[in-house]
Symmetry: C2
Subunit: 96 residues, 2 copies
């Protein structure tokens, strides 16, 4: 049964960009109308790459619906906290 | 004489993030109402850091007015072309 959730989240980390592209395409092809790509720190560039590759090469009717940036406070393993920038990119499939 | 341009561009490259933060703050304090931060590739994360640091620490009435992502085609020095993701973050000073 295909999923019909309005908005699913894909966390972008340190793997190769095509890993995330394929994961997103699979979700969009399974029926999701929207995906939110989330990334922090240096993975932010990879999230932008992922969104651009999906839109330009694979799902050309996809649109960037929203982009938000924010600051998150994370706990360091050695104690204390650090601020890290984060991005959320919402991709929506075009209406057919 | 202070500048009154509506929109000035700051290109974010590979220098330390505080270099760009100081450059942006200077421009905003000289009278610019809006700044556009532009970055490509791995500098995208740094552009987000720059915007967040300005907004959270230095100019707390600044707002992120718009964020756009795109793909640019650049010519490689060894010939051929490459696609690179780009971001444009528009920061506006809050109304007083």
């Amino acid at each position: 049964m295909s999923k019909k959730n309005e908005s699913n989240v894909v966390f972008i980390g340190s793997k190769g960009v095509m890993t995330y592209v394929l994961s997103c395409i699979t979700q969009l092809n399974e029926g999701d109308q929207e995906l939110v790509l989330k990334a922090r720190g240096r993975a932010i560039s990879r999230a932008v790459d992922t969104a651009e590759i999906i839109r330009n090469r694979f799902i050309t009717d996809a649109v960037i619906k929203d982009i938000k940036i924010s600051t998150e406070t994370i706990e360091r393993s050695e104690g204390g906290t650090a601020n890290v920038s984060a991005i959320e990119i919402t991709i929506a499939k075009g209406k057919k």
